[in-house]
């Protein structure tokens, strides 16, 4: 049995589910707003052989869950008969169950959730910065400020393309030098504090890792921060870069991630962003297919 937890209509979850069914692997696919309603749990921590999961009255032992794809481990409460306070409490409780259980599950969990972190890792956390440099990557110049004016002055002073990245780990926004970029920066920073990341001049690369497989693509210079379908074009990956990506994935404990990279004119490679819930549909068709197959190999067993 493979369990897939995701937001409703998550493209990656749907594609993986199709691939696994094609391979005759039984799949349970649960959206975050139906976990509380559909997922039954009988979990004895420390005893997977005495524990089970149940979906729609079909039961599987915890040790029989071969793999899990976790695209979201939030449990959104959607039972109108309960008060909002009770709904929130129930959602927190189920989330705590998933956090503990997914970390104890003997099967492969892509990716095991990290306590206290429901979104992407704030990769500027000191520990993660150390992992990035140890893997052989560089860290771009970054400004964090509560002052919109200071952010704007810095952006103008740097005079280069920058990324606005959020502490919450939401997808970044690309700011091009000029009046339009400055206006965008004011809009984005006015609401909440962001990191301003200076993009080194050079080539944009996107590396999607699945276990020890590295799928490399190029990022168009016109990219604005959110990918459209097929926007990442597949390209050959050099041995050195592959090794760095694998090392970074391993040290961050990630089986599935997208590293947004920037190679400068001197060949140094910078990590601009890390997405632990990457959307393979952003890659061109062959690359997407390869990623889905690699994921199916991991969670379903090759």
């Amino acid at each position: 049995m493979v369990l897939i937890l995701s937001a409703r209509n998550d493209a990656c979850a749907v594609r993986l589910s199709e691939e696994l069914r094609h391979r005759h692997v039984p799949v349970w696919q649960l959206a975050d707003d139906e976990v509380l309603r559909r997922l039954g749990v009988g979990w004895r921590p420390g005893s997977p052989s005495e524990s089970f999961l149940e979906v729609d009255s079909c039961r599987a032992g915890l040790k029989d869950v071969r793999g899990v794809l976790v695209r979201s481990f939030e449990a959104l409460a959607a039972d109108p008969r309960m008060s909002p306070k009770d709904q929130r409490f129930a959602a927190f409780e189920m989330q705590a169950v998933l956090l503990g259980m997914l970390n104890e599950l003997p099967g492969r969990v892509v990716n095991r959730p990290v306590p206290g972190q429901t979104f992407r890792p704030a990769f500027r956390v000191r520990e993660n910065l150390r992992h990035i440099t140890s893997a052989g990557f560089r860290i771009p110049e970054t400004l964090v400020t509560t002052s919109v004016e200071h952010a704007e002055d810095t952006f103008v002073n740097w005079g280069t393309t920058c990324w606005a990245s959020w502490i919450t780990g939401e997808p970044p926004v690309v700011l091009q030098p000029g009046a339009e970029g400055e206006a965008r920066l004011r809009d984005e920073f006015a609401e909440r504090t962001a990191c301003l990341i200076r993009q080194p001049d050079g080539q944009g690369l996107e590396a999607v890792i699945v276990g020890d497989q590295v799928n490399l693509g190029t990022r168009a210079a016109s990219w604005t921060g959110r990918f459209n379908a097929g926007q990442i074009r597949s390209t050959e990956v050099e041995e050195d870069l592959r090794d760095c990506c694998i090392a970074l994935g391993r040290s961050l404990g990630l089986l599935f991630a997208r590293f947004s990279l920037q190679r400068d004119r001197a060949g140094g490679v910078y990590v601009m962003d890390i997405d632990t819930y990457p959307d393979p549909s952003a890659c061109e068709a062959d690359m997407e297919k390869a990623i889905i197959c690699q994921l199916a190999d991991i969670v379903g067993g090759s």
Binding site: P45, M94, L99, V125
Partner: protein, 291 residues
């Protein structure tokens, strides 16, 4: 050795622990800056740049500005996740009481269980379920001596499960619950502050001693000395969870075995210090001021 840097206290002054830590820092003559995000948000300005592994910038709160390189330690309490001050805090190579990633382990009590067992404590037989039949089976297995409590760090009162509760058992479908075998014995709350260990024995007729007044039963607390081995286990557990300050809930059963329920990353130690006189606030201040 005492630091000459500035201690940043991130927390609301209305919180007794935050206020108490400030008074203990003041009593030591430590240089500290309180950042009360509930009161002073509009006065706060933070900026820093990271380049080639070096950080530079400042934190300004009203009329006071502290350069980032002058910050020696940070005390964090009741700060919203994803606040910018936490992002800054996460980047600084200084002492944190406690670091932001370490807060998370308590968000799932069963998640902490591995670390608890790894460090040599007994753990009670546990079932986490939203299945009424399984809950009933567990209750029978434990001879009806079962308690229930939250799975997450959401506040809940520990209660015993009684026969009459089974009338409402169908409600379990709405929300998974943690059931544990009841362990008779003496409650001990242990606070670790760095390497220091403060143990408080609590005697109370209430199932959850925190709510003894509500149940109108007496509660007595006294400072006790733990066996060396158990004190070491507490130190190792806190260290394993990345906590420089922790509140560890233990129970010593009649045979002398120590069971551990959980480790709280943001303990309200003033509640215990008020009753026992254990100088935990001073220990926290000392830890924050140490190089």
């Amino acid at each position: 050795m005492t630091s000459k840097g500035v201690v940043i206290v991130l927390g609301p002054l209305a919180d007794p622990v935050t206020a108490y830590v400030c008074t203990r820092l003041f009593a030591r003559g430590a240089d500290f800056m309180l950042v009360d995000l509930r009161q002073d948000r509009h006065l706060l300005e933070i900026r820093w740049t990271a380049k080639e592994g070096c950080l530079s910038g400042f934190i300004r709160n009203g009329s006071r500005t502290v350069a980032i390189e002058d910050v020696s330690s940070v005390f964090v309490r009741q700060v919203e996740p994803y606040d910018i001050v936490l992002a800054l805090a996460d980047c600084l190579p200084v002492t944190f009481v406690n670091s932001v990633p370490s807060f998370g382990s308590n968000s799932s009590k069963p998640f902490q269980r591995n670390a608890i067992e790894r460090n040599g404590f007994h753990v009670p037989k546990t079932l986490v379920t939203n299945d009424p039949v399984e809950a009933r089976k567990f209750w029978d297995e434990c001879g009806g001596r079962v308690i229930r409590k939250s799975v997450s760090d959401q506040m809940s009162i520990v209660r015993g499960v009684r026969g009459e509760d089974f009338e409402r058992l169908a409600l379990l479908r709405n929300c998974p619950t943690q059931f544990q075998e009841y362990i008779a014995g003496i409650e001990i709350r242990v606070h670790t502050v760095g390497e220091r260990v403060f143990a408080t024995e609590i005697t109370s007729g209430a199932m959850d001693y925190r709510y003894a007044e509500r149940e109108r039963v007496p509660r007595r607390m006294r400072a006790v000395q733990l066996p060396t081995e158990v004190a070491d286990q507490c130190r190792h557990l806190a260290s394993d969870l990345g906590l420089l300050l922790s509140g560890i809930d233990l129970r010593r059963d009649p045979e002398g075995s120590y069971y551990c329920w959980e480790a709280n990353p943001m303990p309200g130690f003033t509640f215990f210090e008020n009753s026992t006189g254990q100088r935990m606030g001073d220990a926290v201040a000392e830890l924050l001021c140490r190089v």
